[in-house]
């Protein structure tokens, strides 16, 4: 278990890499070779993360005695029906915290695996700071959730490092690019293994800064810097929520320690409900900004101004899931604060679902391939948040896991396309690339299928779990979330089909001759595509595996990653796998593809008809009719529903939300100018200066007393004597 206790090495390595690259890169290594440092470091990180992951699984499988929470069996009467015992368990003891282990949920846990409550590995290192006589340590907190993210971050970061050697080759700031990639990785890893909420804040902000720096990587162009600023400032707005929320947590529990906070809540659920609600609401603001949730999502599409590998790493796979990760990490807070267990709708679920919906809708209206992917990311992040909002903790993390791979693959694929197609991301200037770029095309399609949730790709499994979670919920289902989820499933498939159509099919509409990217780019694509296929295997439901006798491998993520040591105390339950739900989800995705396919295919046909007149077959009457229907569908349904809706949504997004953000900045500046001009310079400084002028002019006035004539002086002398005398004689 050495690695778990010394997990601090993992973020330390890229941090050192950052320092080395930044300060010694140019001089001692050579500006064009700094990637060696970064890749080496990331390789190490990956290995160590893998070791950590392995050790964690060992810890779960063969828990050392000190890793298991002592279970107080107050009786084995916890029935199978979760709904019942949930009510019972809120007694004066913490039976709930322990009672859900093992076979109490035999069915619910799929495969009947008994999961003891494994404590996270917490190592503290030093007195980081102290106050009021109490010292606060810095440390690492490693559990399944941590190692899962470690693996995600390390893998994708490593691949992005490799991919970038070609993608940003010859860039004006190659050194800085790699330095910040390293720093970002370090910050993200630091965030992931935060032992206390202060570390969470630190990591949270540091990744934000790296994001800022990398979005603004090409800072010579104003739009890039605007985007960087927007990203940072929007995140800052959310950070208000983060700060306040964390402070509320501190004020409630008088500790920053995540473990302590979670344990306190899970052992005594129901207490501090209001404080937790406030904290959860505040933290939701932070999540909204960092993870691109409505209404603070607008920075994320703009953030595509950064280099594409950065988008893949930061704005798709890792940083943007920080919000999701934070919710998952402090899940008891949200669970209790939003009463997820008992409600059938709550703020988090709604925001998540709504974000997923609008993200998906907006993805239709984009011509920039990266923006489509960005909105897709928004949408998928909304999915994850929604999952957390409905109590499907594992589903959310599972989706986070799968999404990281296929979305990174998509972004890198888009980068590859752009690399080939003269650095444009405008889909109108692409088309027909499948022939020139077979590897990119294939990986892109695989990832798209994964994203669309087509069996058996990774996305299918995770999305299915989310939909299932919405359907079942905890005590109540979340019907609205289910509707949102289904709609998004359909739309996702549709817009991804559109992207593929525009990018890879049809005729090439750009300049020059597109070509496949070199291996250094395609290999990472293939690795990621592989993961897009396989990642789903990490949490397969039991029924799928039973036929092949591998039910022991079912629900690995749930088993290893879920912090049941906290969640069980809350009474979190897991829904049984449902074939029907899976089929519905799949059907929706397929129909999305189909509709879009038909739509664009028809357009192709129209084009083709005029162009390929000679070899077009006759007898298209039926198809004509179909066209007519299609036309009807397109003109009536799509044009009146989809387009206007999408347009409206886009307009709302651009004109209201986005402008609000922009105008908030402008307004602040205007207010600042006004305050400065009128209040500061006018009123406050003005009054000071007026006082000075008043003194000056009264001095001038008083000089007239000094007429120079001695008899006037005499008058003053005797007059003053007389007046004083009169006054004193009368008064005294």
């Amino acid at each position: 278990m050495w690695m778990l206790e010394n997990a601090f090495l993992i973020p330390l390595i890229p941090a050192i890499s950052f320092v080395v690259i930044l300060f010694f890169g140019k001089r001692f290594i050579g500006a064009d070779r700094v990637h060696v440092v970064g890749i080496t470091a990331l390789g190490l990180v990956w290995v160590l993360s893998a070791v950590a992951a392995f050790q964690w699984t060992q810890r779960v499988e063969n828990p050392p005695p000190d890793a298991i929470v002592q279970v107080q069996h107050h009786g084995d009467d916890h029935g199978d029906d979760h709904g019942d015992d949930h009510g019972d368990d809120h007694g004066d003891d913490h039976a709930a915290a322990s009672g859900h282990s093992g076979d109490g949920h035999g069915d619910g846990h799929g495969g009947g695996h008994s999961s003891p409550l494994i404590r996270p590995v917490i190592s503290t290192f030093s007195d980081w700071w102290s106050n009021a006589g109490v010292t606060f340590a810095v440390g690492t907190f490693v559990d399944g959730q941590t190692v899962l993210l470690l693996m995600v971050v390390a893998s994708i970061s490593l691949l992005v490092h490799i991919y970038s050697t070609e993608y940003v080759k010859g860039d004006r700031r190659y050194v800085h690019y790699y330095a910040f990639l390293s720093l970002f990785t370090a910050a993200m890893l630091f965030f992931v293994m935060a032992q206390n909420i202060i570390q969470l804040i630190v990591g949270w902000e540091l990744v934000g800064v790296c994001s800022f720096a990398l979005i603004g990587h090409w800072w010579e162009e104003k739009p890039n810097t605007d985007a960087a600023l927007k990203a940072f400032l929007t995140n800052r707005v959310g950070d208000v929520g983060l700060l306040v929320g964390m402070i509320v947590l501190w004020g409630t529990f008088k500790t920053f320690d995540i473990d302590v906070i979670n344990t306190l809540i899970s052992t005594n659920p129901g207490a501090h409900h209001f404080a937790l609600l406030v904290a959860a609401c505040c933290l939701m603001a932070a999540v909204a900004s960092k993870s691109g949730q409505f209404p603070l999502h607008t920075w994320l599409p703009d953030a595509m101004a950064g280099p594409t590998p950065v988008s893949a790493l930061i704005h798709a796979a890792t940083m943007v899931v920080a919000g999701v990760y934070m919710i998952a990490r402090l899940y008891p807070v949200f669970y209790e604060g939003f009463s997820i267990g008992t409600s059938s709708i709550n703020l988090m679920a709604f925001i998540g679902g709504f974000t997923a919906l609008i993200g998906a809708g907006l993805a239709f209206a984009q011509w920039d391939i990266k923006k489509v992917l960005a909105y897709s990311t928004v949408s998928q992040l909304g999915y994850m948040v929604m999952a957390l909002g409905v109590g499907a903790w594992t589903a959310a993390i599972f989706h986070l896991f799968t999404h990281a791979f296929f979305k990174a693959c998509l972004f890198l694929g888009a980068g590859s396309v752009s690399h080939a197609a003269h650095h444009t991301f405008d889909m109108r200037k692409m088309g027909g690339l499948r022939k020139d770029m077979p590897h990119t095309y294939r990986t892109f399609v695989i990832s798209s299928l994964a994203l669309a949730g087509i069996f058996p790709f990774a996305g299918f499994w995770s999305k299915d779990e989310i939909l299932l979670g919405s359907l079942v919920g905890q005590e109540n289902g979340y019907p609205l979330m289910l509707i949102f989820g289904c709609a998004v499933a359909l739309m996702t498939a549709a817009y991804m089909t559109r992207v593929i159509w525009y990018t890879f099919h049809g005729e090439y509409r750009g300049h020059g001759h597109p070509h496949e990217s070199p291996k250094v780019m395609t290999v990472p694509l293939w690795i990621l595509a592989g993961m897009a296929v396989l990642a789903g295997a990490f949490n397969l439901p039991g029924p799928v595996l039973e036929p092949i006798g591998l039910e022991g491998l079912a629900h690995r993520i749930q088993t290893y990653a879920e912090p049941s040591v906290y969640l069980n105390g809350l009474g979190l339950s897991h829904p049984d796998p449902s074939l029907n739900m899976a089929l519905v989800g799949l059907a929706l995705a397929l129909s999305g593809i189909l509709i879009t396919y038909l739509y664009y295919w028809r357009r192709l046909g129209l084009h083709g008809l005029t162009e390929r007149n000679r070899y077009a077959r006759r007898g298209y009457t039926i198809l004509e009719n179909k066209y007519y229907l299609d036309h009807l569908y397109n003109d009536v349904v799509v044009e009146t529903v989809k387009r206007p809706l999408a347009k409206w949504a886009n307009r709302f997004n651009q004109n209201v939300l986005d402008r609000t953000v922009n105008t908030a900045g402008e307004t602040a500046r205007d207010v600042g100018r006004w305050v400065y001009k009128w209040i500061d310079q006018g009123a406050i400084d003005g009054s000071v200066n007026a006082a000075a002028r008043g003194a000056d002019s009264s001095g001038e006035g008083l000089r007239s007393i000094q007429s120079g004539k001695v008899q006037n002086y005499g008058q003053l002398l005797f007059g003053a004597a007389a007046v004083l005398a009169i006054v004193f004689v009368i008064v005294v």
Partner: protein, 164 residues
């Protein structure tokens, strides 16, 4: 007592009228002469108050020395003897107001405090020798100081007034 009162009345009338004339006359030499009248009248009052040495000094120093000084001053500055120069400035109303206020409050206070207190007439009478005893014992330091003062005034006045 009546005689003294009558004497006081006559003398004080002379003094006040002369004083007023002095500050209002347009002829500077007349003014000097009115001042002589005032000083002389006061000398008489000192006699009435049994202050013989003061009365003597009043005559000797003031009328004898100071007035001569003034007349010299008038002559040396060739002050117009007639009303060629406006003797009273334009601000005389202010001067009147100030003087009246000052006089008013003083007189009010005196009346308020001393009311109709009678002057002690049967007190000890101090002769010149008593005065000199006092000067040369208790007030020896101020006396010497006055002598220095007069010397200094003399030296300084000579320096200032002499033609270079």
């Amino acid at each position: 007592m009546v005689a003294q009162n009558i004497f006081f009345g006559i003398i004080s009338a002379i003094v006040v009228i002369s004083a007023v004339r002095m500050v209002t006359t347009r002829n500077i030499v007349h003014a000097a002469l009115y001042l002589v009248a005032v000083l002389a009248g006061l000398g008489a009052l000192y006699v009435l108050l049994t202050a013989e040495f003061i009365a003597t000094t009043q005559v000797l120093v003031y009328i004898g020395a100071v007035m001569v000084l003034f007349l010299f001053g008038i002559m040396l500055t060739k002050a117009p003897l007639g009303n060629v120069m406006e003797m009273t400035g334009k601000q005389w109303p202010i001067a009147i107001v100030v003087a009246a206020l000052l006089g008013g409050v003083t007189i009010y206070s005196l009346l308020n405090r001393f009311g109709s207190d009678r002057l002690v007439t049967d007190g000890p009478i101090y002769r010149t020798a008593d005065v000199s005893d006092e000067v040369f014992s208790t007030y020896i330091v101020p006396f010497e100081a006055v002598s220095v003062l007069l010397l200094a005034a003399l030296i300084g006045a000579i320096v200032l007034a002499r033609k270079d």
